[in-house]
């Protein structure tokens, strides 16, 4: 029966149950239930059309049933999301870090500086931390958007900002003086905003080629005056990193979907 098949499809697809095998099992169980229902209704002399209506009425709102299943399997879903988030952050941050290292090494080589000294510098460690924070912030905002129904980016970004402000407050209150990569977090939120609100390609190119490197140069110049070769190499490294971030915004959702799909398939908590 088409209408009852659609009913089961809607329940299973909206249930957000992480394990694919579990979803198949629920489909099988609900179909078996409908078979019993139909057989009993036929035996009682009801017509086919009436039986379908009775099945639909007995089940009620499929979205409500799906919410019931979603609640039961909420912890598994959150666990998988956390694993996918961590894997995505590690993979994307590793790629961006490799890109940043290659750029710095190339620039050091071309300027005749010792490559290893540049790569192993404290500046590179700060940049690595910023890259990880940027990717984590980007993915965190994208994930948080799913829990809001309206003004999703704004609410997600504000939620993340509140979390970060709390971390800063704890850091200050406890006197830990940890090097929180706030610039990295801001970069992640910035690129999420670009991904969502800047649609023309020209504008995106302008952001990567002009705006993003200029922010970096401005921040560097605030700390100390720089020579022209140093400014040029810094612009180049920010340009490459900006291109890397732009690429990340294209890959993040696909990677996350692929990881979730793979995790759902192999999920042991069936």
């Amino acid at each position: 029966m088409r209408s009852t098949d659609e009913l089961v499809d809607r329940i299973v697809s909206s249930s957000k149950i992480p394990a694919r095998r579990r979803r198949q099992e629920i489909r099988r169980e609900l179909c078996a239930h409908i078979e019993d229902f139909v057989a009993a209704a036929r035996a009682a002399g009801h017509e086919q059309n009436e039986i379908e209506k009775r099945v639909l009425a007995s089940f009620g709102d499929p979205e409500q049933i799906a919410r019931g299943f979603a609640w039961v399997y909420r912890y598994q879903r959150r666990r998988l999301r956390a694993i996918a988030f961590t894997l995505s952050t590690v993979l994307l941050a590793s790629c961006l870090l490799a890109l940043a290292l290659a750029t710095q090494a190339g620039l050091a080589f071309s300027l005749g500086r010792p490559v290893m000294k540049v790569i192993a510098s404290p500046h590179m460690a700060i940049e690595a931390l910023d890259i990880v924070a940027s990717v984590a912030a980007y993915l965190a905002v994208a994930s948080l958007e799913n829990i809001f129904a309206s003004h999703r980016f704004l609410k997600a970004a504000l939620t993340l900002a509140v979390i970060l402000a709390t971390l800063v407050a704890i850091d200050a209150a406890a006197g830990l003086h940890m090097a929180l990569p706030l610039f990295g977090f801001a970069t992640g939120i910035f690129f999420r905003a670009v991904k969502l609100f800047v649609t023309p390609t020209v504008a995106r190119v302008a952001i990567v080629v002009v705006c993003f490197p200029l922010i970096g140069l401005g921040l560097a110049l605030l700390r100390a005056p720089l020579s022209l070769p140093a400014l040029t190499s810094m612009y180049a490294s920010w340009l490459v990193l900006g291109m890397g971030y732009q690429l990340m915004t294209h890959l993040a959702a696909r990677l996350d979907a692929a990881l979730m799909s793979g995790l759902e398939r192999i999920h042991a908590g069936y």
Partner: protein
Amino acid sequence: MDIDSQFLKGSIGLLLLNLLSRKEMYGYELLQEVSRRSANSFEFKEGTLYPALHQLERKGQIKSEWRRAENGRERKYYALTTNGRSAAAKYEKQWHHLTGAIAAILESK
């Protein structure tokens, strides 16, 4: 008589564990048993029953097994675990205590 769903919500686990302590049953059979034993006073909806069964299974109070019936239809049978048996006894005791206390209040002058 229509029963407020909030009343029923907290007692679904108790009802299912109690019914399954009598014999192993599948979902449709459980719905029929609830209707029959309550003389159609209340009926579970599928949307209430199946998430509740899965929740009990996740808590380790019931276990399930697919079996093929004589008519060829496959059914998923639920049975109590040891943990479920002691939970059923505990909930039943709590229920009697609670309903006794509520009745005492309602009937008091």
